[in-house]
């Protein structure tokens, strides 16, 4: 802000007034930076550091011991399995939804657009409960599914549905702005040259929107890994069967098995963190080059 005063075009009269203002500015600046850094340190960094310290309080051995527990391992595998399926489904259908919302104009489009944000507004517990109303023992679809012996509630399909619901917005919300920015010109050019719709998407559109796509996949994956409330209600957290990583942490806390809980929480947190920060880092490097 002082640059305008030192640029030389101003009369010398401006100079005496400059010092007290810039000293005050400097103090404001240091004060504001200090306040923000302190806030973030207390709110975000301190809890994270404390978790790392707590997990390793008795050395590294108990951490690995806790993580090698077959029940916890199985829970983590179940979480990864559900998350991978969620990501694949959203990568396909989320992309279609984003494409339709950006490229097509039809009645009800604004409604669909608002609907995308719905999962942000619904509590995970309510998501699980809604699925229970549909697929539970006394659920509406029970008479339809029972004869075929298809189990959705307290089983894998219900947990996947719940995770799909809560992670729906991420893919679409990441893709819509990049699709809008990309425009239609290149797609039309490809079509003019005789490319089929699928060819156009695969060779023209997808490469152009790949960073939005990758970031959407990462956020979806991270959200799916961390889902708790919805899978608790629809899955029931049956140990060894429908217990995911978050549910195993919850149970370990309940049983006062703290080293196990903290270790598992640390691994889950770090895994999501590396995913999200890693893809952000890749994107920045790509932008620089």
């Amino acid at each position: 802000m002082t640059t305008i005063l030192t640029s030389g075009s101003l009369p010398a009269v401006a100079k005496p007034a400059r010092r007290p203002v810039s000293i005050r500015r400097m103090w404001t600046r240091y004060l504001l930076i200090a306040v923000v850094v302190t806030y973030i340190a207390i709110l975000i960094v301190a809890p994270l550091v404390r978790l790392v310290i707590s997990a390793f309080e008795h050395g590294i051995a108990p951490v690995f011991g806790a993580l090698a527990d077959p029940v916890i391992l199985q829970a983590f595998w179940l979480t990864v399995f559900i998350s991978v399926i969620t990501v694949v489904v959203h990568a396909i259908f989320g992309t279609i939804v984003a494409w339709v919302l950006v490229r097509q104009r039809f009645r009800g489009r604004a409604f669909l657009n608002a609907l995308i944000d719905m999962p942000f507004a619904v509590s995970p517990v309510v998501v699980g409960y809604m699925l229970l109303l549909l697929f539970g023992r006394t659920g509406i679809l029970a008479p339809l599914l029972d004869p075929f012996n298809i189990k959705v509630a307290f089983a894998l399909p219900g947990m996947i549905l719940a995770t799909l619901f809560v992670s729906l917005p991420f893919m679409v919300r990441e893709l819509v702005p990049v699709l809008e920015a990309f425009g239609v010109q290149q797609e039309q050019a490809a079509a003019t040259l005789g490319a089929s719709g699928l060819q156009t998407f695969w060779f023209v559109t997808l490469p152009a929107i790949r960073w939005g796509f990758i970031y959407g996949v990462t956020l979806t994956f991270a959200r799916a890994l961390g889902e708790f409330g919805a899978v608790l209600v629809i899955g029931g957290g049956i140990q060894g069967r429908t217990e995911t990583a978050t549910l195993s942490i919850y149970r370990a806390l309940d049983e006062r098995h703290y080293v196990g809980a903290y270790s598992a929480a640390l691994v889950l947190g770090l895994f999501s963190l590396i995913l999200v920060l890693g893809s952000e880092l890749l994107r920045r490097r790509e932008h620089k080059s």
Partner: protein
């Protein structure tokens, strides 16, 4: 030539492929979102509005809803102020650790909320050093009490305001501020008269989004709050209790109230963002 004339028509007229994609998109959203929502509204309203009102005004349910609302409101106020300040510092100042600070903002988006709850309990819990000290010297208990809920909500929603304000702040032309400074305006005057007005809309949408997000939060709160009915039990935890005790009407009623409030807020956010976009193109 004929290709060039033919093509725009082909783009304008919905082709079979476009119809297929549109139907897929609509079916996907209907199955995943609309049907479950219809079911829960049907269930909650099956006893009529009177029954819904009765369930909502039961003392424990009413207290849980009130607690959810006021903790979310307190969080929103603090988050708005600190989020605005953080965005300002990140955009206007460079200092050692700037890039690190900027990366830390997104951290809450990546960390599972259950893990957030665990972290906060370890740091501020009554059996831990800091928590015990706060309790002994100041008489403050954070964990297993409403302040813990606010703290957890602040952690989870921190990126919303910052990331809403930051891009708009980046696009502001600083010539006006410099002109005001040469005319002798103080730091505060410049901020409140010149910097703040264009930030009001993004600030409001970030704040409302964090409020909407806070209403449904479960993973962090269930760990941090202690969940005592009439004291630290939020609406989401209350719903879980009703589901487990098979009180369908109660669970559906509170769920409907939560969904309605949060979705209304999200619609307002959509509208605010739409207005801002129009403002930019004009």
């Amino acid at each position: 030539m004929s290709v060039a004339i033919e093509n725009p028509r082909a783009v304008n007229r919905p082709r079979l492929g476009e119809w297929t994609l549109r139907s897929i998109a609509i079916t996907y959203l209907t199955v995943l979102i609309i049907i479950p929502l219809i079911i829960i509204f049907r269930d909650g309203l099956s006893g009529g509005l009177g029954e819904l009102w009765h369930q909502v005004t039961l003392p424990v349910a009413w207290h849980a809803l009130k607690l959810t609302m006021w903790t979310a409101a307190v969080m929103t106020i603090i988050n708005s102020i600190m989020g605005l300040l953080t965005a300002y510092v990140l955009v206007r100042y460079t200092f050692p650790g700037h890039a690190f600070l900027n990366a830390v903002i997104d951290l809450p988006l990546a960390i599972p909320t259950l893990v957030t709850g665990v972290m906060l309990v370890i740091l501020y819990g009554p059996q831990e050093a800091l928590g015990a000290w706060l309790k002994q010297h100041w008489g403050i208990s954070i964990i297993f009490a409403p302040p813990g809920i606010i703290l957890a909500l602040l952690f989870i929603t921190f990126p919303f305001v910052v990331r809403a304000v930051q891009p708009v702040l980046l696009t502001l032309d600083r010539a006006q501020e410099q002109a005001a400074a040469t005319l002798g305006a103080g730091v505060w005057t410049i901020f409140s008269r010149i910097v703040l007005p264009p930030l009001v809309l993004p600030l409001a949408s970030g704040a409302l989004l964090s409020f909407a997000r806070a209403i449904g939060e479960f993973g962090a709160i269930v760990i941090v709050a202690g969940n005592l009915p009439m004291y630290s039990q939020t609406a989401a935890v209350y719903v879980l209790g009703q589901v487990e005790s098979e009180n369908r009407v109660g669970a559906s009623a509170i769920s409907i109230v939560m969904i309605t409030i949060a979705f209304t807020l999200i619609l307002v956010v959509d509208w605010l963002q739409h207005r801002r976009n129009i403002g930019v193109t004009r």
